[in-house]
Symmetry: C2
Subunit: 189 residues, 2 copies
């Protein structure tokens, strides 16, 4: 049985143990993809690491629990320009905004100023073909060696899953919405 205690990480690994920035993908239809990324952000911040979160879906005016906490901690959390939602009437415009946001992310990656970058809900622009997966993987290949990058969202492209170091699929077992319980502030947003 393994636990999250690093003293119990698998003992069977032989050979050199590598220190490197990981490419992590949290995907699947369940809850916890963004939330787990924020947990890592919290942990990394606890170690004094320089962290930043780029959000591809959230409204730029969002002021949920995570934005409030990030603000209190001085963590940059930057949403895409227009407050894109899937209800957006002009998907062409959303595609352009996603591309522009990705360009900003590339600048952040190449700046080598951060230890952890979260690309929140970045799978959607790839899934919809607005951002080219091959280009994303090329960018990941040339990232600073110790930079950790977490990508969240459903429908992670297979090429990305193949390239990533750590991939977790969050599966919904049971959800309270089904029983009429609404999303709870501080818990789900």
């Amino acid at each position: 049985m393994t636990t999250n205690d690093p003293s119990t990480t698998p003992q069977s690994v032989t050979g050199p143990r590598i220190n490197k920035g990981l490419v992590i993908v949290n995907t699947g239809t369940g809850k916890g993809k963004t939330t787990a990324a924020m947990g890592v952000m919290f942990r990394a911040w606890g170690r004094g690491m320089n962290v930043i979160m780029m959000q591809f879906i959230k409204h730029s005016t969002a002021n949920f629990g995570e934005q409030r906490a990030a603000k209190k901690l001085g963590i940059t959390m930057k949403a895409m320009g227009d407050g894109f939602t899937w209800r957006s009437k002009d998907l062409d415009q959303s595609a352009e905004l996603a591309k522009a946001h990705w360009e900003d992310c590339k600048t952040i990656i190449s700046s080598n100023e951060y230890d952890l970058l979260i690309l929140d809900e970045f799978t959607y622009p790839m899934h919809y073909g607005w951002v080219d997966v091959d280009e994303v993987i090329e960018t990941l290949k040339s990232k600073p060696e110790m930079l950790h990058i977490i990508i969240t969202g459903r429908n992670a492209p297979e090429k990305l899953v193949d390239y990533a170091d750590l991939v977790t699929d969050m599966t919904l077992v049971k959800h309270p919405y089904k029983e009429g319980i609404k999303a709870q502030p501080g818990i789900e947003f």
Copy 2:
């Protein structure tokens, strides 16, 4: 397609929407169970909610990223007495310590002083029969109405899954340990 944006929560739910403290279970063999709970903690803290984390596996002397972050934020994160691990030679003693830690949790629950309680890796004491699942469910039934409780760990007992409001199974798709990459500080602990 749903996103984490609450403006896009399912529109098909009809009838009254209930505000209540949720019982959330993060289980499965993948990464992200504790980490997602910490993400919720971060989010709740951002909203000024009173949060506490009781850990059933971690060493009481642990000083990982999460402990450091919690300390900086003034969040209580209390580990079980002895620095229990699965290597412990005296499992009887560990069982006693787990029971005592659960008694402290019950006091915390009935105190009605918190908005969010995380019972980290609490599935193990239940799975091993040290803490009775029926008693846990009775305690959950009588918790303060608005208290949210998150239970993490593998092998969540079926009765608990049945009782919980929100259950997510984290499934490992790919793990870097397999390729000789060691656990990275700030990311995995």
